[in-house]
């Protein structure tokens, strides 16, 4: 039984997450003995910025089911690096522009393939991902074969090279991130609507192609900025992981995106700091591992959507319904056989309901709803206690009212409500409606329905 609850406010959670991230700084320097050198500060701030912006943008990719598109696009950036190097030499700006251009070309190729042919999106993405990436590897290998020292380290774009980040890179990252976030906030309603229901957006005059293209461009911008730090292979983790984790904890887009930004910043910053604990730990992969760890925690422990919650709820529901069912069994049995029996034989419940039934009997005994009598002649028998009698007859009456509502609700023109038989109908319908149903019920009130 899923509980019906209103969307929660997620702001306390977001604040707590933000505070935890900030507290990590003194924790790491005092407990873990991390020294915040100039390089580490630069890399950590860069990682946090990158994580925040790609987490926010990536949330939309997650909701649009375009996670794999992000992967294809980041791989598609690699040939751009090679071509830009051949054209303009080792100039970071040029390399990033080249990366962005081939990545956008990748988006275009995927859109053309899926829009004009019957090729499915996953196949189109697979082809672009491998085709563009292979071209990039070829280009880089060719460049490395040339007698030219300036190409050294160009292959760091594959897996990222955090140490190469300098302060000016962080300023650039901050500027671009600000622009991206401002765009995201300004055109929030457009992005939200095309993500939830593109057809409806189109029918309401929104240019879906344009807004989708802008969103894809923002994804490409995030990828390009992440190339130095995470590299083309791992960048998709930066995009997707924060959104996936944030979705577990929140129920509104307005909360999910900020939380994803914080989780991304946490992964980027904390990952960078953790990799500084030992000089042999690579930064980019450490950031992605940190992000994945946050995803793992969220998938396991988030309320309502987490694995632990789901498993516990199932187990609790099974127990609750078994108890109810067995209580009904006893009530009906006693009713049918009137006072002529000294209770329900143990073997009857066990025979009808099996092991879960026997467990339910013992739980009802512990809750003082059933009484157990053991007699040498008649064997073990079960009877309702006063509490059990009250609960069971209440339940029977409630079910009878629900039956009557289903049967006569339309005829009597009662308010239309969804049938939730595990709930008290008197809490869901106005008193007059209950009176009308009770009148109809007449003498049959609370009479058990036979259903063994």
């Amino acid at each position: 039984m899923t509980t019906t609850i209103d969307a929660r406010s997620s702001w306390p959670l977001i604040v707590i997450a933000a505070v935890l991230v900030v507290l990590f700084v003194p924790f790491s320097s005092t407990v873990m003995g991390v020294r915040y050198t100039y390089t580490l500060r630069t890399v950590a701030i860069g990682g946090a910025l990158l994580g925040a912006v790609s987490g926010a943008i990536g949330s939309f990719a997650v909701l649009r089911k375009e996670s794999l598109l992000g992967d294809a696009l980041s791989h598609a950036a690699l040939p751009g690096v090679a071509v830009a190097f051949l054209v303009a030499g080792r100039e970071l700006g040029a390399l990033l522009v080249g990366a962005g251009l081939t990545s956008l070309l990748g988006v275009a190729a995927i859109r053309v393939m899926t829009g004009y042919t019957r090729i499915k999106e996953d196949a189109a993405m697979g082809i672009v991902l491998t085709g563009w990436f292979a071209a990039g590897i070829m280009g880089l290998t060719y460049i490395q074969g040339r007698p030219d020292a300036s190409q050294a380290g160009l292959d760091s774009f594959i897996f990222g090279q955090a140490a190469s980040i300098v302060r000016s890179d962080v300023f650039l990252l901050a500027a671009v991130s600000t622009v991206a976030i401002v765009l995201l906030i300004t055109f929030w309603k457009q992005f939200k609507l095309i993500t939830f229901n593109a057809e409806f957006a189109g029918a309401n005059g929104f240019n879906v192609t344009l807004w989708s293209a802008l969103l894809s461009t923002l994804v490409v911008v995030a990828i390009v900025m992440g190339l130095q730090l995470a590299g083309v292979v791992l960048m998709v983790g930066m995009l997707i992981a924060p959104g996936v984790a944030a979705r577990q904890w929140t129920t509104k887009l307005e909360a999910m995106v900020p939380l994803a930004a914080i989780i991304g910043a946490a992964a980027g910053g904390i990952g960078a700091v953790l990799s500084a604990v030992d000089r042999n730990l690579p930064t980019g992969p450490m950031i992605i591992v940190t992000a994945s760890a946050i995803v793992a925690i969220s998938v396991l422990f988030a309320p309502q959507r987490g694995v632990v919650w789901v498993v516990l709820t199932r187990w609790r529901d099974a127990r609750r319904f078994a108890m109810r069912t067995v209580l009904r069994d006893v009530y009906h049995y006693v009713h049918d056989h009137s006072a002529s029996v000294a209770g329900v034989p143990d073997s009857f419940i066990a025979g009808v309901r099996g092991r879960p039934g026997r467990r339910a009997l013992n739980r009802l005994l512990a809750r003082r709803m059933l009484r157990k009598t053991i007699d040498a002649d008649t064997g073990t028998r079960w009877n309702l206690t006063e509490t059990g009698q009250r609960v069971a007859s209440e339940d029977a009456r409630n079910q009878s009212l629900w039956d009557m509502y289903r049967e006569a609700g339309l005829r009597l023109d009662l308010p239309v409500i969804a049938e939730q038989r595990d709930r008290d109908i008197r809490a869901l319908l106005p008193p007059q409606a209950i009176d009308a149903l009770t009148d109809l019920l007449g003498d049959k009130e609370g009479e058990p329905r036979v259903r063994y």
Binding site: D6, Q190, K192, F196, F200, G202, A203, R247, T251, V416
Partner: protein, 268 residues
């Protein structure tokens, strides 16, 4: 029939405005092709103002395609669409759209009220955000579909019927003059179906024009005063009394005469 009478009354009311003013929707020579096959072919269709119209036809007849082509959601190979005498592109705000319920991911992180508010996004312009006024209008629309108690609920927790009513509220909040609804009765229970019919009749009562893609032939005469039979081409269109006939149904559905007979038999 009562609905037919209502329709006549309304056309009379508007009679002075010239013939073009009577038409809520006018489609001329509309053709849509998928991979060289026509999904709808050379469709001419006029829908008078104030009718409640069923768009009926077999699977693959192009019912949804027709609606989407009218809305400009899929490219038209040929043809033009006017709404209340103006080209659709200039009269877009007069048209409300209820897409198929299955066309969205109901696990999207948002609330019922939020979804209904989305109906007003189109009127807000490029930069304005929905505010208190929009939420109030959305709340009012939710009351019209009896979902006011569900306003704050996550949409993932709605039943199919509640999802459909949420979509209806999102269209109602737009206060459009012509509504295009893609299978609002698909997979809803009898209670929800009755609730939706009430909403549709109420719309008609307020002189709105409603076009509904419909599958259940048994209920066409009960619910709709206007019927269009479509199978790639228009087979027949007009008042349900004269259009929804055994012969027209046979022309639309072809060989499956047993079904058609059953409907016709059930009708009389």
């Amino acid at each position: 029939m009562a609905h037919q009478g209502e329709h006549n009354r309304m056309t009379d009311n508007n009679g002075g405005g010239g013939n073009a003013a009577l038409l809520a929707l006018e489609i001329e020579d509309l053709t849509v092709a998928y991979h060289s096959k026509p999904a709808i072919w050379d469709v001419d269709l006029t829908v008078p103002q104030g009718v409640l119209m069923a768009l009926v036809g077999p699977n693959g007849a192009g019912k949804s395609t027709l609606i989407k082509a009218v809305l400009g959601l899929i490219p038209r190979a040929a043809g033009s669409v006017s709404v209340f005498g103006k080209p659709y592109e200039r009269a877009r705000d007069l048209v409300g759209y209820v897409p198929q319920r299955g066309s969205v991911d109901w696990d999207f992180p948002t609330t019922v009220l939020d979804v209904v508010t989305m109906g007003l996004y189109g009127g807000l312009g490029l930069l304005k955000r929905p505010g208190k006024r929009e939420r109030e209008l959305a709340m009012y629309a939710l009351e019209q579909v009896s979902l006011q108690d569900f306003a704050g609920r996550q949409i993932s927790q709605l039943s199919g019927g509640q999802q459909q009513r949420t979509f209806l509220a999102r269209a109602l909040v737009q206060d459009a003059r012509l509504y295009l609804m893609d299978e609002p009765f698909a997979a809803v229970d009898a209670v929800t179906e009755r609730a939706i019919v009430t909403i549709l009749k109420e719309l008609q009562h307020r002189q709105r024009t409603v076009v509904v893609v419909h599958h259940d032939l048994q209920t066409v005469t009960d619910y709709f005063d206007w019927t269009t039979l479509l199978n790639v081409e228009i087979v027949a269109s007009g008042p349900t009394d004269t259009t929804f006939t055994e012969e027209n149904l046979r022309k639309t559905y072809g060989g499956s005469i047993a079904t058609v007979n059953a409907i016709a038999g059930g009708d009389s």
